[in-house]
Symmetry: C2
């Protein structure tokens, strides 16, 4: 998606160790027009696939999941990383290592908001190691629902997450990224064509 | 906003101690159509006021802030509650007590995303004690920007947040709530007309 790639090159910063700072457009600040365009593009990538629900993870997955959900007109559920006092009843619980915060982070979804038989599109901000996305996918399976696709705003292909998912039971799953970064060595940010 | 009030009465649960569970529409699951309608209504409430930017707090403020920002066509910034590794440079830091998680929660906004002279609309999910909103307002003041309004999805008027804000330097600020709960005693959820 060209508008996104342009913005990553204009505003992104390579902080080293594979850490990409694009908080001006995704992780701290949001330009609503760009976010809406991302949602439109994301929905388009999964055209023809039946989707009942979008699952994402707080925090930075919420905005692209919402704008995608606006196009698809399906409910969006965001996995919580801390159990709020309002989360009563059974939950699906998985853990994934955090890329930007260190340590393992739990992901929780109320059983109320993932139903058996649903076709679920997983949307998130980044595909890096794939571990958060796989934790979300495990939740969907625990709910006896089906993951029908994975869409991310930015993939860092050099971290191998796509291959990890392919090797772990998701070999036929469509995985779409709106922008793909193929190299961040030596302070660069190299995007795929 | 009638559609929101109807949904609160249909899906809301009074968990006691003033805790309202409406995670099916606001804090865990989002119906995009309802969220877009909320954003439209929120923008309408501040018609005629110049707004340069929306400030909210993660997590549940993001969705209503985004849909409001879509209408106003201004950037949205969400205060973080933990410093991510991508947050480099100076930050505005305030703390506010958490209603649903206990303890004090820090709120951080990069100085990059709040500018002197900007007119800022604060949007959040709840107005309860007003302490989170006042922490956000203090950040705006630290940035030498100006709070021009506060909009929330749900106000719990019996917690006195509006009065607290009125008594603490925000006596002339427009404060808008899309739904107002006036009483939660004895398991009830009583909405204002």
């Amino acid at each position: 998606m060209q508008a996104l790639k342009d913005r990553i090159l204009a505003e992104g910063q390579n902080l080293g160790s594979g850490i990409l700072k694009i908080d001006s457009i995704l992780n701290h600040q949001i330009y609503p027009d760009l976010m809406v365009e991302m949602g439109r593009e994301m929905a388009k990538r999964f055209e023809g696939i039946h989707i009942d629900r979008i699952l994402t993870a707080e925090i930075s997955g919420i905005a692209p999941a919402l704008t995608t959900g606006m196009v698809l007109n399906v409910p969006v559920v965001y996995a919580r990383k801390k159990k709020p006092i309002t989360m009563a009843g059974p939950v699906f619980l998985e853990t994934a290592p955090s890329h930007t915060k260190g340590g393992d982070v739990p992901l929780l979804v109320s059983a109320e908001f993932l139903h058996a038989g649903e076709k679920v599109l997983i949307v998130d901000d980044f595909l890096a190691t794939g571990k958060t996305l796989m934790a979300l996918a495990r939740m969907v399976q625990s709910a006896k629902a089906e993951v029908v696709g994975v869409g991310v705003v930015v993939e860092k292909s050099f971290e191998g997450g796509r291959e990890l998912m392919r090797q772990n039971g998701y070999s036929h799953l469509p995985i779409e990224a709106l922008a793909t970064i193929i190299n961040m060595d030596n302070g660069r940010i190299v995007l795929a064509e």
